[in-house]
């Protein structure tokens, strides 16, 4: 698998961190993988010692990961790295970036051209024009 950067990570996580499922998180855990039905509010102060949070997409039509990533950034001020994993398509690149995702994990053979192209489209979004965020 290879990592594709949507934007420069604010605080990149150290390489080779051990990622554990959120249900198995302990006080020494620094990287977790969420399930789409997980309520990020319950992370509470645990966020302070996390360097990497992975949001997952069992199928790209399941948009819960967008809300999780955005809530982590906006409600809880998480400034570590957020990665998206699972079934994702290039056409979601900008949405992921807007919701605060730093990078996505792609198959080794995946062509990154459509991802790069998707990021270059829509320089101005309607939401920013309306003065949101």
């Amino acid at each position: 698998m290879k990592q594709f950067d949507l934007a420069p990570a604010r605080h990149p996580a150290p390489a080779n961190l051990e990622v554990v499922p959120v249900a198995e998180m302990t006080e020494s855990t620094r990287a977790i993988r969420l399930t789409p039905d997980f309520d990020v509010e319950t992370l509470g102060t645990a966020l302070d010692h996390l360097d990497l949070i992975i949001v997952t997409f069992p199928i790209f039509r399941d948009g819960r990961g967008f809300s999780q990533a955005r809530a982590l950034r906006e409600y809880y001020g998480f400034s570590g790295e957020i990665r998206a994993e699972g079934h994702l398509i290039a056409d979601q690149a900008q949405f992921l970036r807007s919701c605060g995702v730093d990078n996505v994990l792609l198959d080794d053979r995946a062509d990154t051209t459509p991802w790069l192209r998707a990021l270059s489209l829509f320089p101005v979004t309607y939401q920013t024009r309306l003065g949101l965020r």
């Binding site: 790209f60 948009g63 819960r64 809300s67 398509i89 829509f122 939401q127 309306l130």
Partner: protein
Amino acid sequence: MNAPVGHYQYQTADREFLASRIAEFEGQVQRRLSGELTEDEFKPLRLMNGLYLQLHAYMLRIAIPYGVLDSRQMRKLAHIARHYDRNYGHFTTRQNIQFNWIKLEETPEILRQLADVDMHAIQTSGNCIRNVTCDQFAGAAADELMDPRVHAEILRQWSTLHPEFTFLPRKFKIAISGSPHDRVAARFHDIGILARPGEHGPLFRIFVGGGLGRTPLVGHELFDSVPEADLLMTLEAVLRVYNAYGRRDNIYKARIKILVQALGIEGYRKAVEHELSLMNPAHYRLAPETVAAIRARFAAPDLTASPDAEARLRNDRQGNIAFDRWVRSNTHPHFAPGRIAVTVSIKPAGGIPGDATSDQLDRLADLADQFSFGELRVTHLQNVVLAHVAQDKLLELWEVLNEIGLADANHELIGDIVACPGLDYCALANARSIPIAQKLSARFGIMRCRKRSANCASISRDASMPVAIIMSGISACLVLTNVVRSFSRSLWVVAMMHCHVPVTYSGRPCRKMIWLMPSPVSSIAI
């Protein structure tokens, strides 16, 4: 700035956005044609661009934001019908238009042509926020408290390619009205909004969790008076709760109405209020300057009329029974003296409800230029409105409508049938609804003299019955809780919905609404 009457004037950024969008879709079509994208992967992308795969061909549904378009756009739709489809288009209940015989490889070119007149097919399908619908008499009706189109435009912009709400559990429909006579069926929408002026700016009453389909439910009031500044923040909170908790395991239980039913309206409100408590209002505030800038991109028509316009109309109606009948059923009072709003029926007796030929579309554009400042509206009952006609010109307009076969006097009467496309087009259908709608309107919808009646003023009353017929060809769409009777001879399931809640059908209290579900057997017989 030469802004069009009735809808928002695009600016450079809107056009750049559309150009990017078409480039993106063209790439997606190419990747599909080359096999790089599977049909499963392509499906949500084409749906986001209004492209459905029906029984026999691709269908392209084109967005008409809040149902308002100008004559230039209408002529382009006629052109597309003529050159890329089978010479007709179909107006939809979301105030859009769809073409049923589109070739996949031609869609990028069609979208480019649409973009030339500031139109597109974005979010007319898929599990995203669909075209925001609006009162068809907005900015014209005498009973209006507040013109809802500026806020409908704001909702259009806010919901367009929303980063968080483009992959929802299911489609999401929003309607907004500014009249105390709800003409948008606000309580039958995922979110229904009734706008009114307040002491310190507009206020919005918000309903959530209504809808039709296989589980018809009436929406609940979520908030009574949301101020303008908080409108988008409130909607974001509603959507966020739905995105996180709406069911994704069963397509029939994925709409927000099921979640509202599960949590109860108090539970849903509590969840929304919790979201609101986490949000920073400064990030979501809809600023008065933003609203003013959008409002400035709508032109206001000069609605002065000749002082004797009303007297001339009264005179024209006398002695012309057919014209008088049409004025009674197909016009709505305008706030400006001497003006009147006209509903052009796209439901000719015996015709296919909502279908118009390219020639008719062209003629409607001409009539809009001649009688209504070049502006037209599509209604959620699949008719077309010319909103600002001078009363002394009404007879002239009616005469032309007669020539082009669009003068049926049946608005909100039994001939004004809403029928889903059914098995003639739809992959989900199990019965043909269109031929039955045609037979019913041919039988009931024609004004005619009673046989053996010496006096022609004694006209069959059938055609003037204020009964709404809504027909579905999808059995999943007809499960009603009240009186359901099955007519064994005809094999039609007929359900009469007696309204226990203040249901309105196009703004008027509904006395009778008939839902017809032809069984596959009976539709084969027809």
